[in-house]
Symmetry: C3
Subunit: 320 residues, 3 copies
């Protein structure tokens, strides 16, 4: 039975940890999206709270710093009425030489319910999930280049919101795909949800042919890559790549792969433009596009809160 080998699922096939979009069935992905849709309206209410996680303890364990992502989990947990504890890992016992698993064992002993884990090492959230007590649930908030499942799921939520159905879509992921955990989580989710045309677009150094093994078509030319696309997901170009060996210059990158209003016409007229943020205006995306009417970048942020509420409430509701 597959469930036995998938650390994200219990023996009934229910989600107990969210570590990756890889290995999750269409039913589970759809269940998360459906649950999220019930939470979208919570943030519009006068009282933006539901009592689903009241009295539960959520620990933010960000071994890699990310104020933005940490804040979205903090908001999501508090709107579920949980108590949230954010550890300053860089100043904590881990810095005193305590092992990762000892830190986690200690926090588990304080009766934690959910660990939200971000780590620069791929696989760290898996290691933690394998060692926590049965009452503790792990949500991966980004590990190395490996996975960023809540970002992948909020992207799916956004696409479904605007395009209704995945089975007729062409989705292009553009930019530094090589280093992107978002791209990996998107590709796994899109293929599972039945998207027939997933494209990876970028220079050879950042969009290697190996992505075809994941079911994506690889393009090194922006016009071909986004031609007649329904959805364009632009990726952030990390500053550290811009003048490195992988790229000649940010100007040349923008010339070849930066999305302008003019190039956007290559896609379908009703194509939506997405970006995980924070955006580099004038590097991977022009301000006209980022602020234009095809941009759904800010709705992504709004949906992200609902998707994180869904992920936390689902895993916390299932027994290991």
């Amino acid at each position: 039975m597959l469930a036995r080998h998938n650390p994200q699922l219990n023996k009934h096939g229910e989600l107990i940890h969210l570590l990756s979009t890889e290995g999750l069935s269409r039913e589970i992905l759809t269940h998360i999206l459906d649950t999220a849709s019930t939470f979208v309206s919570v943030s519009d209410r006068e009282v933006k709270k539901v009592p689903l996680l009241r009295g539960k303890s959520v620990f933010n364990l960000f071994f890699e710093n990310s104020t933005r992502t940490r804040t979205t989990f903090d908001i999501a947990a508090k709107r579920l009425s949980a108590d949230v504890f954010t550890l300053d890992i860089t100043r904590s016992s881990t810095a005193k030489g305590e092992t990762l698993l000892d830190t986690v064992a200690n926090l588990s002993a304080m009766a934690a319910d959910i660990f939200v884990v971000r780590h620069s090492e791929s696989g760290a959230p898996y290691l933690i999930a394998q060692h926590v007590a049965p009452h503790v649930h792990v949500v991966n908030a980004g590990d190395g280049r490996h996975a960023h499942p809540t970002q992948g799921l909020l992207d799916m939520y956004t696409i479904r919101h605007y395009k209704k159905d995945f089975t007729n879509l062409s989705v292009a992921i553009v930019g530094d795909v090589l280093h992107s955990r978002v791209a990996r989580s998107d590709i796994h989710a899109l293929t599972t949800l039945g998207c027939p045309d997933v494209r990876v677009v970028g220079p050879r150094t950042l969009a290697p042919e190996s992505f075809s093994a994941m079911g994506a078509r690889v393009f090194h030319n922006l016009e071909e890559g986004i031609k007649d696309a329904d959805v364009i997901i632009m990726l952030r170009l990390q500053n550290e790549r811009m003048s490195g060996a992988l790229l000649p210059s940010s100007q040349e990158y923008f010339h070849n792969f930066g999305l302008t209003q003019e190039k956007l016409r290559w896609a379908k007229p009703d194509a939506i433009v997405m970006h995980p943020g924070p955006i580099n205006r004038g590097v991977e995306i022009d301000s006209d596009v980022a602020d234009g009417k095809q941009s759904v970048i800010l709705p992504q942020v709004t949906f992200g809160i609902a998707v994180r509420m869904a992920a936390m409430s689902i895993v916390a509701g299932n027994e290991a």
Copy 2:
């Protein structure tokens, strides 16, 4: 109609952002003080909470560090039952090159209700207020040398508490007025509330004649400046001024403008002594005065919580 041009007010003339005491009518200032008086008792209760902002999201955006002011807003928001999110701006996306307005747009998309903004640039909270979605309210927690309206209002609350009426008072503001946003917010509020005698007192380098344009009388001699005053507001001397070009030495400053019990006799016998804190004992104020029976420095702190509760609950209650 003036309201149309004042970004703090909606078209009905109601307060939707608190950016400055300048441009607010006597009625609005009095409404904030009256509302604060209903909150003073909340902090004395067994359960120090009212549910006015339950389920609302307050974001502390401190682009300039201030643990003390941030804490007072944190306390005020939680006593109103809000959820409070404090962003470590120096480590956030802004540090990754994201623009101020993109950061704010992202947080708005997370369904923020109130931004409490502190910034070293004068005007930054105005810029934010002009760009936020209609459901979002901005409270200025200090911008450059420009304004610190909640400090100005807690000073007004304190004066009204001890002196009942503004229309017969002499109020002296002493020290580094030039660099003080507190002084500017105090002067605007005092003149609007009908105080007939506002004085600015300090060396020529720190209390320039230009303050007379704001309706204050300028003095360069402490005895003349505080003679028969009802209220003395001492300002903190920033460490960085002490040995700079603007001042010969902190000893000489204390000799000329530091407030001692002896010099305090120049003021009225029932004069109160105020200070926005943190105080520099022996620099601008002697310990005998700071801890003496005319000092109302700690009551200012207490009233500050109530005034911030009032400001947040009022702006959040009005539609843009």
Copy 3:
């Protein structure tokens, strides 16, 4: 009357501050442990909260950094439904030259109920307790080498949980006793609770003869020190000692005083092994022991939350 001289007690002999286990009667120590036992189950509930401190304001004042201890107080306070405010002291007004007592007076004026204080100077929490307003309570979270009463009490809770009665026990405290506030708090509590045989074990440089004045027997040989012991409390060896003048090397330390499964056989067969954490695997304790079935290190962490809930709810319930 002793109560008059003990700053931890009011005139009725009730606990109003928890500063040290020294000077507290067996009745008071037992009352804290009994209260803690009612809280142990709270952390196992679906909703891990009781409303005892609802609307109270708890301030974490950590002048010495400790993410772990701060987190346990944060959890304990929130499970009592308090609002918790953590001040980043290193960036606060204290850093601007404000005195400790001015900082505390300001926070008191914000209607604080409890200060949780950690400070590198022995006695700092006493100084604060002597100067706070009558409605404010102080809990010492560790001061210099002097005391760490909540750690001492959670150690007592753990011993009582596993051994039921103190009056027949041999308890050995092993390691860097000289620099350990935990050891001092343990020794005071153990002798008050009637433990007839308290032992201090370590090299001469770290376990000086002077501890015999506190009622402990001093050993410089591990076998003699833990022989037939019921309880072994291993202390963390601070990294800074390891290659200093006090110790030849961490290898030699481990050889002489590190606890292995083999050496553990010198103690009683049902002896429990404790450690305040974070543990240094392979320095003062072998992984086989730390993870072995005689180890109660993780239960200590669990009980620590309950003991801190007890300490805070008891002091907050008594009038000064």
